[in-house]
Subunit: 403 residues, 2 copies
Amino acid sequence: MIDKFKIINEMAVDNGSKIVLLLMDGLGGLQLEPGGKTELETARTPNMDALTARASLGLSEVVAPAFSAGSGPGHLALFGYDPLEYVIGRGVLEAMGIGFHLLPQDVAIRGNFCTIDANGKITDRRAGRIPTEECARRVEVLRKIKIPGVEIFVEPVKEYRFVLVLRGEGLGAAIPDNDPQLTGVPALPIVAEDAASEKTAEILRQWSVEANKLLAAYPPANSCLLRGISKDPGMPRFNDVYKLRSAAIAVYPMYKGVARLVGMDVIEHTAETPAEEFEVLKQHWNEYDFFFVHIKKTDSYGEDGKFENRVGVIESVDQALPILLELKPDVIVITGDHSTPAKLKRHSWHKVPVLLAADAARFGQAAKFGEASCTTGTLGPIRHVDIMPLALAHSMRLGKYGA
Amino acid sequence: MIDKFKIINEMAVDNGSKIVLLLMDGLGGLQLEPGGKTELETARTPNMDALTARASLGLSEVVAPAFSAGSGPGHLALFGYDPLEYVIGRGVLEAMGIGFHLLPQDVAIRGNFCTIDANGKITDRRAGRIPTEECARRVEVLRKIKIPGVEIFVEPVKEYRFVLVLRGEGLGAAIPDNDPQLTGVPALPIVAEDAASEKTAEILRQWSVEANKLLAAYPPANSCLLRGISKDPGMPRFNDVYKLRSAAIAVYPMYKGVARLVGMDVIEHTAETPAEEFEVLKQHWNEYDFFFVHIKKTDSYGEDGKFENRVGVIESVDQALPILLELKPDVIVITGDHSTPAKLKRHSWHKVPVLLAADAARFGQAAKFGEASCTTGTLGPIRHVDIMPLALAHSMRLGKYGA
């Protein structure tokens, strides 16, 4: 198979130019009615609209037609990693989501508290969706479990969910979930699928026995199921591949986690609003070549079906945009990791608008930045995995392919 | 892997129709300012514009998004060979570039004269960029080297560059460059990477020893480095795959070389201007089904940053176009092998406009031929490797796929 990263790495040069990737989570939207406008089209975005005059617009496919990307795949694609090729396990994703600093050798597991009866049969796979504080109490209990030869971390997530991490040498992760996805049956046995994962399986079996003993006193969450047993897939490092010094600015742990997974520096800060995030970027402007800035609320309001609030977040980003523009990045890309139309209250498969502003862009007509203008833009239909290479090309960081 | 050539070959029929592929090198351009026009959009091209009424327009990706194609990959793609799959080594490209007639078994090497000190350490990897005449003098000296069992050719290129070709039986080319890409160190040892290349490596070691002896008297170019050791990759033959009798008309050796590599006839001529090239085509009209006509200057002026001169070349092509149109080709394709915007003074990654005129085309609105009209054309976004199959289809040379 053709190793695209190798080719791009060979073409890449570090010329000191600056790139900003401004991601509004779930940016792509839908009209509520025929003849209507999407969230982005409804928003008053004079700064972005002005940018279109010296930009290329396009619509981008995140993973593949009809695929509604999760946050992990959406971000990986945006960073140039084909999410059909680079699959992050649920355990790793969950650990990243709470900001747990995973090491390459760690095995991460998503745990679900559940209810079992006297015969060990599952009666509720989510333990009545216990509140998060109840989850935290039980996590405290589970932390008492010690197994020689391995360091064990247990962290609460939300409601019935927690994260279990095993740290040690020689721990494989080829172990299926022990969640039978059914009630009325016991948890499945924990069985390694390869020799390299035998040690992990044995540790998890011991741990589960201990966990059941300890949790017996805490119904309804008197047992737990282990899912998504996985490790950092060991992806090519973002900075090495692209020859960039890169930094991520995000408010939510999940997005810091994905950025960290590909090797970006994650800037710690207390910013919350877009303007505050941009100010953080400004403070660190001279330290990096590439900034990934993550805006969360466009997605959250989409999930909640709040069209007007999504419009408001987009407008607040636009209002703060001059803070970025004053820094005169060589390339600024504004896009999303997937669509989250308020109309659907969920991630969707619709293509995502992209604005790529650069001196080297093939300029289109100045336009309102939105799905309609992006459909006929000069960037054309593209894929998310091409956005990073295109950003590099437009900052003159990619040489020729072949002589 | 799907063998696209095999499928196309099975669908192809020879119906005697005629196709002209008119290539303006580096045709794709950029506006100098927002709201401006590209070179092609600026040029007065009444003949091409008239053609758009009975044509499909499209924008084409040469290799992959963000890839700025070199001449080799750009032409291969245009001839239907995926340049990510068919990689032509630097030595072969360089030999083709000076019009050297490579045989399939030949090993071609790009040589760089360099300067070494008394300890054999490289002090200048380009020997002070000696002028081309100095290069030719040393090439004469190197031609004295004879090694039993192999025929050796040495040809000057430009400044410090020359081409070395080994002709004989059993010569593999899996040998890395001996150029360390550094000064202060000696050349790397010449080592075969497979058994089939052992003989070649031994010959090159002997040759290098002799070369250093002879060049000692010719500082600053008192040694040389060997790079891009390669052979004709042995591509499927253009004429066989497409069932065409094909001919290339080009002024520069490089483009004749690429055409020859895929098996086209190369028509020798003394034409220089577009009109003269078209007259050559006219003289040979009855001998071939397919003509590849190469116009160089659109690229050269792009590299030099001369926007107006690029416009002028495009206009001269348009003025001469009636010579071609009078021949009534069934299909005429006008495009480029990549973009070379005067604004960037280099090959670029921007998609290339394509005009495909044929009775069987899905006609769009008549328009000024240019990047903007191609963005919304009926041919849609395509890839360069699809242009040859599309030309065949539009000349009714491709049957059905499946019953």
